[in-house]
């Protein structure tokens, strides 16, 4: 199945792009994709799982993803 990953703020700088569509096996959780990002980017190696949004709502990182989901890792927010 396919999942869309969105990158914001510092994660966009690190990933070098705004989004990705990734092919993942059934049963993949958001946390698995964070693990993959940490493995792919040295700058994230020691960074704990940030808040996670699935389809524009905060979600548990252990939530199992579904085909077509839009996933975003939310770096520390700094509004106001």
């Amino acid at each position: 199945m396919k999942v869309k990953l969105l990158y914001f703020a510092v994660l966009r700088d690190i990933a070098g792009r705004r989004d990705d569509v990734v092919e993942v096996p059934e049963g993949t959780r958001a946390a698995d994709l964070w693990q993959r990002m940490r493995e792919n980017h040295q700058a994230l190696r020691d960074v704990a799982q940030p808040m996670t949004a699935i389809n524009e709502s905060y979600a548990d990182a252990d939530q199992v993803l579904r085909d077509g989901d839009e996933l975003a890792f939310i770096p520390p927010v700094a509004g106001g």
Partner: protein
């Protein structure tokens, strides 16, 4: 209606849009770009948001404030893009028949917005640039 703008904020318009004849007070809060943060000089800030989600989260904050203070009318606008020293990044107006609720509601609104709405800022200064809240240094 959007809670976000790329243009300078007009607080007077925000007040006009929220005041009812029954209101005896309004509290206006503006967050302003300052020239320092955590001991470092700041020259400008770039704000960005995960827009569709940020609109929803902002609406949730407003709904929660209205639930906590039923007599209070709330208006919020957050600016995005490139801001310089002295620019307002956010304006919140809480109007109420009485002042106490307006003060409390405004404080609740800004505190909640800072906790939950997916907005980020990159500070730029003579020492480089940095995403606020991120432990690594970039740029």
């Amino acid at each position: 209606m959007s809670y976000f703008t790329n243009e300078p904020i007009d607080p007077a318009a925000l007040v006009r849009g929220v005041m009812r004849p029954s209101d005896g007070a309004y509290v206006l809060f503006e967050g302003v770009v300052r020239n320092h943060n955590e001991g470092k000089a700041v020259e400008s800030i770039d704000y960005e948001a995960y827009l569709p989600m940020a609109e929803k989260e902002m609406a949730q904050v407003v709904a929660d404030v209205r639930a906590a203070f039923p007599e209070v009318a709330v208006a919020v606008v957050h600016r995005l893009g490139h801001l310089v020293i002295g620019d307002s990044s956010i304006a919140i107006v809480c109007a109420s028949p009485h002042r106490a609720e307006a003060f409390e509601a405004n404080r609740m609104a800004i505190d909640r917005i800072k906790q939950t709405v997916p907005i980020w800022k990159k500070e730029r200064g003579p020492d480089g640039e940095e995403w606020v809240g991120w432990q690594c240094k970039h740029g």
